[in-house]
Each structure stands twice: as structure tokens, then as C-alpha cells.
Assembly symmetry: C2
């Protein structure tokens, strides 16, 4: 395989995580997403739920993060601490074995490697609404709001830690509309291109 | 073919125009780029060189456009006149026959059609510099400046007429790094996906 590592960035509801899992299966390589979170949780001592909630947020995007999280004895914010652990872990994983890594600015963290295929998955609001309602059910918030809120956090986190625009085509080798090509279609395409 | 129309937006120097031409040849369909400009020139009465120069610029991006171009008897700026002609022509072409259309905000103009595959082609600055120096030679301006100037005009034009961000993955079904996949590789991929 010419690309050892595949990073997948994705809009909420676009099916990017599922596509990543399929690609890993097709190529017979490791897949890091929830697994990644668990590892980070273990290493930082934060709870898994906490990291899941804040691992893709940036300082200041949530009042809670300022008022309660605070800083450690070295003046490093909790968010920055999670970022540093995530970064170290992603660099180590990429060194260790071929894998698919979903989210967590992995495209940026691994930008100096030449063996990465960086992918961004998106879809129309209509398709994403359909998907999240089917997968996660209805909630008090309208699906459009849930999509916008989640992606806003990802965008702000990405900008804060990378100084780049989340979803700008130039950051990725390949961007795909999963509503157009389908989940399976995207997975096939990515797996073929990684070979 | 499930997609009759392929629109190609491209960074200057990314080889997007060449890729578009190859795709049209592979699929045996029409290709509109310089040809498009000529048609617009004929219909508006502007010279071909003039349209080539201003057809992808927005009002106000160039002092010249304000001071000299002026407005017609109905108060419509020359730039807007070119835009309206381009828009009408692109809508007509898409109606008339399967084709590849390069640039000119065609992805936006044809956004209500379901038979379009919208593609964005980009590449690293290094690859683009290599390409423009090889194709167009050295000039007084550094290649990096020529790239930045040209893309800035495209970005401003796109934003002005579409209210969207040029190069944002969400605007296209497919975005490709031609430096990664190669010119021929991109053309093969697009032609396969359009089928």
C-alpha cells in the first residue's frame, strides 16, 4: 500500500466515521476513533466521557471550559493538555502501524509525513439530517441545529490548533460528498486510492 | 452516463483545465473553456482578450474596473453584464448537451441540476510553481506571486457572485489534489465517477 495512514475528517452526520471503519476493514489495518479516545483517557486520567465531549472543542467555545476546567500547576489549560496528549498519541500511532484515524486534526498533526492520505467527508444538510435522525433519533434540538452546533465546535477547534480552515479543500488530498457517492462508494474509492 | 455535466473549478497551476479536457475526451463529450470565452465574447460584443481578463474577476478587485469600465444605460456594470452572459450561456450549454465546463462559477450556476458532477482541483504551491514555470516560463513576478494573484481574483469573483467560499469542500462533490494523484490519475477518477 502506498499510503500507510488514512486520516478522515468529517462533518457530523456525513457518515465519515463509518466510512473510516469500512476502509480499515477493506485494507485490513487498524482503526482509531473511540479506541483513540479511550487510550487518551487512560493516559491523561480524564474520564472517557469528558474527552469525548471536549477532545474536539477549543478553549473558549464553551463557558464551562473556562469557568470550571482551569489550568494545571504549569498554567496549561485542560484543553491544551488533551490536545498535547492527542497529538503525541496520533504521532505514535502513525509511527507504529498502518491505520485509519478519524478526526482529532490528524491531517494537520501528520502533515509532515508523506505516507498519509488525508480525506474530508461531507454531505448536504438534507442527507445529514436524514442520517442523524435515523441513527440517534429525535431530540429537543432540531436536527439542523445539532448539525450546526457540532460542526461549529469542530471548525473552531481545528482553526484554534492548526491555523487552517476546517473543510477547505486544500487541506486534504481528497474530499467526497457521501450523499453523492454513498457510504460504501466512498469507502471503496478511498481504499482503492490508498493502495 | 449518470452525470451529464462536469464542472471543474481549479487553482491556477493545478492542471484543472488539462484534466477537464482529458475527461471530456475520455467521455466523448464537449469541452468548454476558451471556447466558452469566445462564445461569450461574440454575444456581448466584448473582445476575447477583455473577457479572458475580466470574466473571472469581480467588480472592485481592480481599480481599472471601476474607473474605466463604467456602466451601461441601465446602470448595470460591465462585469455584471459579462456575468449575466456567462450565466445564461452556461445554463444553455448544460441544457443542450453533455459537457465539461471549466471555471466561471459553473458549479454554482448549475446548482439546481441533479445531473452535474462538481469538481475542485488543487495542488501544493510547490507543484503549482513547477507547473506554471514549465508551461508559461519565468516572468518578472515570482511564480508564488502569480499563483496568489490569480487565485485571489478567482476567490473574490466566486464570493461576489455566489456568496460562497471558493475551494470550500462543501461546494463540490469531489475535490482532488492533482499533485497527489497526477493529472492523468485525476482525469481517470473523474471520468469513472461520472459514468
Amino acid at each position: 500500500m502506498s499510503k500507510r495512514i488514512i486520516t478522515i475528517s468529517r462533518e457530523f452526520g456525513s457518515g465519515g466515521r463509518t466510512i473510516g471503519k469500512m476502509v480499515a476493514e477493506k485494507l485490513g489495518i487498524a482503526f482509531y476513533d473511540k479506541e483513540l479516545i479511550e487510550k487518551i483517557a487512560e493516559e491523561t486520567g480524564f474520564s472517557q466521557k469528558f474527552i469525548e465531549e471536549y477532545g474536539e472543542h477549543a478553549p473558549g467555545t464553551n463557558v464551562f471550559s473556562y469557568s470550571f476546567l482551569g489550568r494545571d500547576a504549569n498554567g496549561i489549560s485542560m484543553q491544551d493538555k488533551i490536545w498535547m496528549q492527542q497529538r503525541k498519541l496520533i504521532l505514535d500511532l502513525a509511527e507504529k502501524e498502518p491505520c485509519v484515524i478519524v478526526g482529532r486534526c490528524a491531517d494537520y498533526i501528520l502533515r509532515n509525513r508523506t505516507d498519509c492520505l488525508n480525506v474530508f467527508i461531507h454531505a448536504s444538510t438534507e442527507k445529514k439530517v436524514e442520517r442523524i435522525v435515523k441513527l440517534y433519533g429525535e431530540t429537543a434540538d432540531k436536527p439542523e441545529k445539532r448539525l450546526a452546533d457540532k460542526d461549529k465546535k469542530r471548525r473552531v477547534n481545528y482553526r484554534y490548533y492548526t491555523d487552517r480552515e476546517w473543510g477547505a479543500a486544500q487541506n486534504y488530498h481528497l474530499c467526497l460528498d457521501s450523499g453523492e457517492f454513498g457510504i460504501e462508494g466512498c469507502a471503496d474509492l478511498i481504499a482503492d486510492l490508498a493502495k
